[in-house]
């Protein structure tokens, strides 16, 4: 059961990392224009 001492903090750390990444996506307004971003992929010049 000692492995838990490593794995539990590990999973918590990963979860926290994902949460921080999510907060960053909100802050940088990545959900403002989802339709537009989907369409912009098709433009070859940006």
């Amino acid at each position: 059961m000692n492995i838990l001492v490593v794995l539990v903090p590990c999973s918590l750390f990963l979860g926290l990392g994902a949460l921080v990444a999510f907060i960053w996506t909100i802050r940088s307004k990545q959900y403002d224009d989802m339709e537009g971003d989907a369409a912009r992929v098709l433009l070859d010049d940006d």
Binding site: L19, D32, D33, D44
Partner: protein, 709 residues
């Protein structure tokens, strides 16, 4: 260029890079333009490159979701040349105000926090459910508590706030049982963990928060969309007016216009404020006020009302009333009372919540008391009560209804229908009679070109009609695309009369036969040909009516026009009932009468004379070309004015309502199995997690099924 994503986009010349300045993150946008027509990558690229070619623009970024472009330039600069450039590139554009950024009530962050906390706690719970015991179980419970308590304290705040605001005034709302379930589950779990108990409800409390927040986010999105639709509509109104300042004519925002200012109005433009005429004479179209489409002549010193369209121009006016004092605003305020009555509509979700909220409290309290009396064990009784509260989680109400509504309104939005009210969907689904206004909605007035006219005369006619912005001229020009315009010189548009020009060595004229005459003629030297004006159905009217009837709806026409005209048009369109010669007040009475007979009435109209009727009807639709007061009163706007959108919209709304009811059925089915299990004390945190997740996922999947366009 490889962008051929949308076949409807042949008008958009995709040229030049849209990258560089345009793609860069915008510093501070100074201007916003509304672009109702954009819909693909080619449009984005064309709009951005067109704007970036303008000398004053530093950056331009299109938001396809909101159909807007933000522009960084000098503050206070006049955007008219940009709008003109976009119009040359084939895009309709309007100046819009900045969308207010609402940060405070954003629910995305709580949703994210609840989601991540739920996943982590669930991970630990799975270990407990699969057999962890003793100290391992206790450790996992403690870690769960350490994640769940701060996470719920943060993420469930929206529910706590709403519940508290209801409790403070002595009412119950749906957030009360939700808050109670979350708080009790967390509190009881902490107590259990401290005493080494076997069950903790942290994952359930978080799952409840997470699923219900999804519902709230969807709901919020819906309301925002309705609000931004209302903003978009405001932008369709002329935001700028040309003011005569000394020798110059300068475009100014309408808010800057003061009483006494001299204004310059071109032919075809709408009078922005109440004013008196300074020029000798003009003709105006006051059909929005009176419903009559024949032009009216005004002479110097006579008043023009805001909303009237100047047919012969340009003319100089002097403003006599601005802002809230204009005739238009006063009429809009008069009918505001009629709109209040519509606030009483109770949506499906409200009615369900009214049954649900007390039921949950009664069942849970009953379970608690029953177990307390039967066993005398407070802890046991409380555990059962919490299990009941959690299992009856109102996921169907809180999640499924907004999910259906968002799916349906998004589909309507993509087709060019703006919903300005969040209950419009359900009200439209319930209609059983459609009442149309005639002029401007079902019919349009156009000039016919006599078939006997020679090709030469037709090409002169096309050139003359293209020289004017008058709506009748535009109609003529559109019907003459088969001939090329004749080369004309000395083109002058004369107020209230028509267009004069020189063609080879002949004098040519298109306009009224005599200044006091409404008959339009084409004159080449002395040879005169009349262009009879006829009222015709708009192309989509007949089809729309046929499809409405196929949906089992009754159709009717309500007009201020003569009985003969109305009957003829109604017969051509296939409409059952006709009321003709009705004034605005009478229209209101007819709608009220129909409602009293038990009909649920959809009113389709565009003019100010329909305004009262639109406000009184159960639900209303206006074309995008309608007057702003009428558009604001309407629940749904058809941007393109295509009437066949109405039957489509009704079908979509009916489907949406059916889905909502199905979802209530699914939720009721789950609860009828889960509640007895919980009340009898067999529910474990595992059972609660399974029941909650499956019911939530089923209702969401059912909600979005079939709404893809």
């Amino acid at each position: 260029m490889s962008v051929t994503a949308c076949p409807g986009c042949t008008t958009a010349p995709v040229s030049g890079p849209a990258g560089g300045r345009g793609a860069a993150q915008m510093d501070v946008p100074t201007h916003h333009l509304l672009l109702p027509g954009i819909h693909c990558a080619g449009c984005i690229s064309a709009v951005e490159s067109t704007l970036l070619k303008q000398p004053d623009i530093n950056a331009a970024r299109v938001n396809l979701t909101k159909r807007r472009v933000s522009i960084a330039s000098e503050p206070g600069l006049d955007p008219t040349p940009w709008i003109a450039a976009l119009s040359r590139a084939g895009f309709e554009a309007y100046e819009a105000g900045a969308l207010e950024e609402r940060q405070g009530d954003d629910l995305i962050l709580p949703l994210g926090v609840a989601g991540f906390a739920m996943m982590n706690v669930m991970l630990l719970s799975v270990a407990v459910w699969s057999g962890a015991v003793d100290s391992t179980r206790d450790l996992f419970h403690w870690i769960s508590a350490a994640i769940a308590l701060p996470a719920t304290a943060f993420a469930a705040q929206p529910f706590f706030r709403h519940a508290w605001s209801a409790l403070r005034v002595g009412r119950l709302n749906m957030d009360v049982p939700i808050s109670l379930a979350i708080i009790l589950a967390c509190g009881m779990s902490v107590y259990e963990v401290m005493h080494g108990g076997a069950h903790a409800w942290f994952d359930a409390a978080l799952a409840l928060t997470f699923f219900l927040l999804i519902g709230r986010v969807l709901d919020q999105r819906l309301r925002r969309r309705a609000r931004s639709a209302a903003d978009d509509l405001a932008a369709l109104e002329p935001a700028r007016v040309t003011r005569i300042e000394g020798e110059d004519k300068i475009s100014r925002p309408i808010a800057e216009i003061a009483v006494g200012d001299r204004l310059w109005i071109t032919a075809g433009a709408r009078v922005p404020v109440d004013a008196v005429l300074e020029d000798a004479e003009t003709t105006v179209d006051c059909s929005f006020l009176t419903g009559e489409s024949d032009p009216v002549t005004r002479t110097e010193g006579e008043p023009l009302h805001a909303g009237e369209v100047v047919l012969a121009g340009p003319v100089a006016l002097r403003a006599t009333a601005v802002g809230e004092d204009t005739t238009l605003r006063r009429i809009a305020q008069l009918v505001a009372t009629a709109e209040v009555s519509r606030g009483h509509f109770r949506s499906l979700a409200d009615r369900a919540a009214a049954v649900y909220t007390p039921a949950v409290h009664i069942i849970s309290a009953g379970a608690f008391l029953g177990w307390l009396v039967a066993t005398g064990d407070v802890r046991m009784a409380l555990n059962v009560a919490i299990a009941t509260l959690i299992i009856t989680c109102p996921c169907a109400l809180g999640l499924a209804v907004p999910a259906v509504a968002v799916a349906a309104t998004s589909q309507l939005y993509r087709r060019g229908l703006l919903l300005t009210s969040d209950t419009a969907l359900e009200r439209l689904a319930g209609v059983d009679m459609v009442v149309f206004d005639k002029t401007g909605t079902l019919t349009e007035r156009r000039l016919t070109v006599p078939p006997a006219l020679s090709t030469e005369a037709r090409s002169v006619l096309r050139a003359l009609s293209e020289a004017s912005d008058h709506p009748l001229c535009r109609g003529v020009a559109a019907g003459l695309q088969d001939v090329s315009p004749a080369p004309l010189t000395n083109i002058r548009e004369e107020m209230g009369e028509g267009v004069r020009a020189t063609w080879l060595n002949s004098l040519v004229f298109l306009g009224r036969r005599t200044p006091a005459d409404a008959i339009v003629v084409l004159r080449i030297d002395d040879e005169e040909t009349g262009l009879p004006a006829v009222e015709t159905l708009v192309p989509s009217a007949k089809d729309a009516v046929a499809r409405l009837r196929a949906l089992g709806l009754k159709t009717a026409m309500l007009t201020g026009d003569t009985a003969e005209n109305a009957e003829r048009m109604a017969q051509e369109a296939g409409i059952d009932r006709v009321w003709s010669g009705e004034r605005a007040e009478a229209k209101l009475d007819i709608i009220e009468g129909l409602k009293a007979e038990g009909e649920r009435v959809l009113m389709v109209g565009d003019g100010l004379n329909d305004h009262a009727a639109i406000s009184a009807a159960d639900v209303s639709i206006a074309p995008g070309s309608a007057l702003d007061a009428t558009r604001n009163a309407a629940d749904i706007i058809i941007v393109s004015g295509d009437m066949t959108q109405i039957p489509d919209a009704i079908r979509t709304c009916r489907l949406a309502c059916r889905r909502m009811k199905q979802n209530f059925g699914i939720a009721a089915g789950y609860n009828s199995i889960a509640v007895p299990i919980a009340v009898l004390g067999f529910a474990t945190p595992l059972a609660a997690a399974v029941a909650m997740s499956t019911s939530s996922i089923t209702v969401v999947v059912n909600a979005i099924r079939g709404f893809k366009s």
